[in-house]
């Protein structure tokens, strides 16, 4: 698949603390698409998002936004045009929902209060059409905090949504709705709007993901348009007598007494000649797990006698 432009381009992004190092020599987030940043806990997803949104300004590297702004602080427009939905306490805990609305409207010229209320209502944010809700942010559930941030971001004119684990605190129905909201956001942008979100619930976000970046230990270890990745990798299943041979061909493997199942680079499939195998087109979840397995520090095969 080819695309034409990046919404954010990064070069030599680098940040270390303690034993952890985030190192991304090249970053290209395609414009007009939904990009998922996938990885284990601690892989560095939030660090990267915080660098991109300007929540963390102590990283090295160059970032270009919307094809022309050099750095997140280079022009007010950059932050105006990015809607951020984060995991932490983005809104202060003692703010009431009414104050959230007022403060967002002070901070962002394009904020549309009517739209904010309409979205809050549509997401059933316990709103009941009242703008003077005294409820404090700290009293909201994690799911409702995400909804509140969605309202704040979607009620503005933006070119890009950046979301840190938006699906995690949401219930299954709301996750479904979130995917719809992202698709609608992209549709109404007609190629000019993009979404970038981190997730470890790949399956929940798969139906909306166009481009995937898989991160392990501070590095992007695989990336590409999902339809291309699904052709690059293939699932192979076979009998136990072939397990030993398959181990050398497969990118990642699960074994049992009954046989093996694994993910293989599609262009190595011919090496299975003579073995009795079945193949399947992988999902993004299959690919992500395989890539993560190949790079993880987790000891996956050890039996722990528990």
């Amino acid at each position: 698949m080819n695309y034409y432009e990046d919404v954010i381009t990064g070069k030599d992004i680098h940040k270390s603390f303690g034993k952890f190092t985030l190192s991304v020599p090249e970053l290209h987030i395609p414009k007009g698409f939904a990009t998922a940043l996938i990885g284990e806990n601690g892989a560095g997803k939030t660090t990267l998002l915080n660098i991109l949104t300007g929540l963390r300004l102590d990283a090295k590297g160059e970032l270009t936004y919307f094809g022309k702004y050099e750095g997140v602080e280079s022009d007010n427009y950059v932050k105006d045009a990015i809607g951020y939905i984060g995991a932490g306490n983005y809104y202060l805990p003692h703010w009431t929902t009414k104050q959230v609305c007022e403060i967002t409207s002070l901070l962002f010229d394009s904020f549309d209060k009517k739209k904010f209320e309409a979205i809050a209502d549509a997401l059933a944010l316990d709103w009941k059409g009242k703008m003077n809700m005294p409820k404090k942010v700290s009293e909201l559930s994690d799911g409702n905090k995400v909804k509140l941030m969605l309202c704040g971001a979607l009620a503005r004119k933006t070119e890009m949504l950046i979301m840190d684990e938006p699906a995690s605190p949401l219930d299954p129905l709301m996750r479904d709705r979130l995917c719809d909201l992202i698709r609608e956001y992209l549709k109404n942008g007609n190629g000019e709007r993009s979404a970038f979100f981190s997730t470890h619930n790949v399956a929940d976000m798969e139906s909306v993901t166009d481009y995937a970046m898989i991160m392990e230990q501070g590095k992007i270890v695989e990336e590409g348009f999902v339809e291309d990745l699904k052709e690059k990798y293939i699932i192979v299943k076979g009998e136990s007598e072939d397990t030993a041979k398959a181990r050398n061909i497969l990118y990642s493997i699960s074994e049992s007494n009954y046989g093996f199942s694994g993910v293989c680079l599609a262009d190595r499939l011919n090496e299975f000649a003579g073995m009795n195998i079945q193949t399947e087109r992988p999902t993004l979840t299959d690919i992500s797990v395989a890539v993560m397995k190949a790079h993880s520090k987790l000891k996956l095969t050890e039996s722990l006698a528990i």
Partner: protein, 123 residues
Amino acid sequence: MVILQNSGVPIYLQIAEQMKADIISGKIKQNEYLPSIRGLAKDLRISVITTMKAYDELAEEGYVTAVQGKGYLVNPQDTEMMREQHLRRVEDGLTDAIKAAKLAGIGSEELKNMLEVLLEDDQ
């Protein structure tokens, strides 16, 4: 349009096949644009890239032409040529069947009978 998530057929192919049928039947008209990729993705609740791949498939096979900045335009369909293409596909399928029958030692009478039975089943 019906999209099955677990049919084993990739979603982009399901879309491409159904659109081809609609183009051939005239349900989607010549010289019109297909729905926008992001609009169709939203309506079918799938990703933009899957829709793009479906449209690219149609473009590759000559059903539509990508017009930069505007979308995918349905090409005038040469019905004679399309019939020719379908004929070739049928011939290929039958040739495969004959080869397989030979390998299994199935005679031509038996093969013809099989075809008759299958045709009846299909009706």
